[in-house]
């Protein structure tokens, strides 16, 4: 029961795909990096 491969899900005039989620995800990763960095930076200032 092979599916006919020619059936396209894509419709004409479809808008640009949205990458909002990807963008926000990278921002969250960036935020995580900054927060952990400052965490250790505070420790550094406290110790040295």
């Amino acid at each position: 029961m092979a599916q006919p491969e020619t059936v396209k899900k894509q419709k004409k005039g479809e808008e640009e795909p949205s990458f909002k989620g990807a963008f926000v995800s990278v921002l969250i990763v960036g935020l995580f990096i900054i927060i952990t960095w400052f965490g250790v930076f505070i420790l550094f200032n406290y110790r040295f």
Partner: protein
């Protein structure tokens, strides 16, 4: 005819690849056993049976996992990837591949025997002035030279493909393997130099003393690109193979090539970030290499965006709504996706920790603490390794003419989840204890009843628990590997290779202008290293004789 022969790795090439994988997974078994013993010793609840030294064990663990397992897996995987995307190896290329494999294996055996005889308990960084038996260094040299043969196979195949295809844009996986091979060759020249010109004559007694600063600098000139040599094959899978597995297109062929080029340029002139606490290197040059190190954040975040975009694009094509609805559409029951995905997640704290390590003065907080060990058990021992396991789940049956059955797939997911749980506990405890000052590379000690050291012990017990769970995961992995290599039902397992989306632009030719990229690579290396290197030689303190402290 041509396409058909390309969809499958040729049987003769498959044998060569599997030979590499056997050594890799035997290393996993040995190294995993050592890791388990280490965490048990360090918890204070267990002592090594008479005769085995803690540093002997730790050397074995580091060498077989970080050096042997990785190099063999990568050589095998890259050969498979090139054979699949650029065509079967020629007889000469295959012979070169086998020659490299044999040379590497002789070298590995030499080094391993010296470690087992307790003649080389110098840890996997073999830092001078610790001095191992000459045969250990000779073995290392063999491994390096053997790996050059494997790299030559990749480069020759690439050249042949370009010739036969009128200099067309090369297949993406082949291109990536070429970048990694060039980086490897440039980087290993440094470690070959210190092994052959410094460590070997010194251990043979031909010279009395060694310039420690120079040998460590040459080591880290190699040591940092080494970590990218591990990581780039994982990126090959993330950029090219994972999209195919989930049923999506590659986000952008050009972006993938560009990020690989950036890794080539900025992975090598940065070794000083491992020597920030060492004397003999001017602060200006340390600072410069710190800045160059931070440039790697750019291709790293590019990679992250590209992956998120692949996932989101796919999820939305399946009707996902909202900001994160696409996450639900991913194939959470497919081990070929889930296991590397766990690796990707681990790279978020792994990368964040790396930025902290490399932050010049802040390195003082973590230097030589067990935090660092926690860091690279996330990066190499989770991100890279789980991706390699995820690759093995389809590549091993592909090569042996078998299939990944439903049961094995489910077991593989269990393997990945167990790894995640065990590593979260072990690496988390290592990070925390490290911030409290607990040193790395140390057996159990109460440090004369110090109250500071007493605070570390609960974390060491936690590492024992996490490490034991990890060991279970390794057993599962080995079981699945043996099953896929020898017992799984016969069949055709696909070697997934993604294609770029139709809207993706044409890939610029400049990416394959190697004169430019190798030229800039060399220029950056000369810029970052020449003056401090001369300084290390001209203003060197008296050389050091060798020490055997074990």
């Amino acid at each position: 005819m041509k396409t058909a022969s390309r969809l499958k790795v040729d049987q003769r090439d498959a044998k060569l690849v599997m030979a590499h994988f056997y050594v890799a997974f035997i290393s996993l078994a040995i190294g995993g056993m050592a890791g388990l013993l280490q965490v048990l010793v360090r918890s204070g609840l267990f002592e090594l049976p008479a005769g085995i030294g803690y540093y002997q064990l730790l050397t074995l663990h580091g060498v077989v996992l970080a050096l042997v397992l990785t190099t063999y897996f990568i050589m095998g995987f890259q050969i498979a990837a090139v054979s699949r995307t650029s065509g079967t190896l020629t007889a000469v290329q295959r012979k070169l591949g086998w020659t490299g494999f044999i040379i590497m294996t002789i070298g590995t055996a030499m080094a391993a025997i010296m470690i087992l005889l307790n003649e080389a308990s110098v840890l996997y960084t073999f830092y001078a002035p610790l001095q191992a038996h000459a045969v250990f260094y000779l073995g290392l040299a063999f491994v390096i030279v053997g790996s050059w043969f494997g790299s030559a196979v990749i480069l020759l195949k690439y050249r042949q493909w370009r010739k036969e295809n009128n200099k067309a844009v090369s297949p993406l996986l082949t291109f990536m393997a070429v970048v990694n091979s060039i980086m490897w060759i440039v980087a290993t020249i440094g470690v070959a130099a210190t092994v052959l010109l410094q460590l070997l004559p010194w251990s043979l007694g031909l010279v009395e003393t060694i310039n420690v600063g120079v040998s460590r600098t040459l080591f880290w000139y190699f040591g940092h690109p080494l970590v990218y040599f591990w990581l780039l094959p994982a990126y090959m899978a993330w950029y090219v193979i994972i999209p195919k597995i989930i049923g999506a297109k590659i986000f952008s062929d050009s972006l993938a090539r560009f990020s690989f080029i950036l890794f080539l340029l900025f992975s090598i002139p940065v070794g000083f970030h491992h020597q920030l606490m060492e004397p003999g290197i001017d602060a200006t040059w340390k600072f410069l290499q710190v800045v160059l190190t931070f440039i790697v954040i750019i291709p790293s975040l590019m990679t992250a965006f590209s992956l998120f975009a692949t996932f989101e694009g796919y999820g939305r094509s399946q009707g996902a709504k909202g900001l994160f609805g696409w996450l639900k559409k991913l194939p959470w029951k497919d081990a070929r996706f889930v296991v590397p995905f766990i690796g990707m997640v681990a790279f978020i704290p792994g990368g964040a920790g790396g930025i902290i390590n490399a932050s010049n003065q802040m390195n003082q907080v973590v230097h030589n603490t067990i935090w660092v060990t926690g860091h690279f058990h996330l990066t190499v021992a989770t991100t890279v390794l789980l991706t390699f396991f995820g690759i093995s789940y389809w590549l091993v049956p592909h090569l042996t003419g078998r299939i990944l059955t439903k049961e094995m797939n489910n077991l593989a997911i269990t393997q990945g989840v167990l790894w995640f749980v065990g590593m979260t506990i072990m690496s988390g405890a290592m990070h925390a204890a490290g911030l409290l000052g607990a040193p790395r590379r140390s057996s159990f000690s109460e440090y004369g009843g110090s109250s500071v050291a007493a605070d570390w012990i609960p974390y060491q017990v936690a590492q024992g628990i996490g490490g034991s769970i990890l060991f279970l995961s390794i057993i599962l992995m080995l079981y699945i590997f043996i099953n896929l290599a020898f017992f799984s039902p016969k069949g055709e397992q696909d070697f997934p290779v993604g294609e770029a989306g139709h809207e993706a632009e044409k890939t610029p030719k400049v990416f394959e202008n190697w004169k430019i990229w190798i030229g800039i690579t060399v220029a950056l290396i000369l810029f970052a290293y020449t003056i401090p290197f001369i300084d290390l030689i001209q203003n060197a303190p008296p050389g050091s004789k060798g020490y055997k402290l074990w």
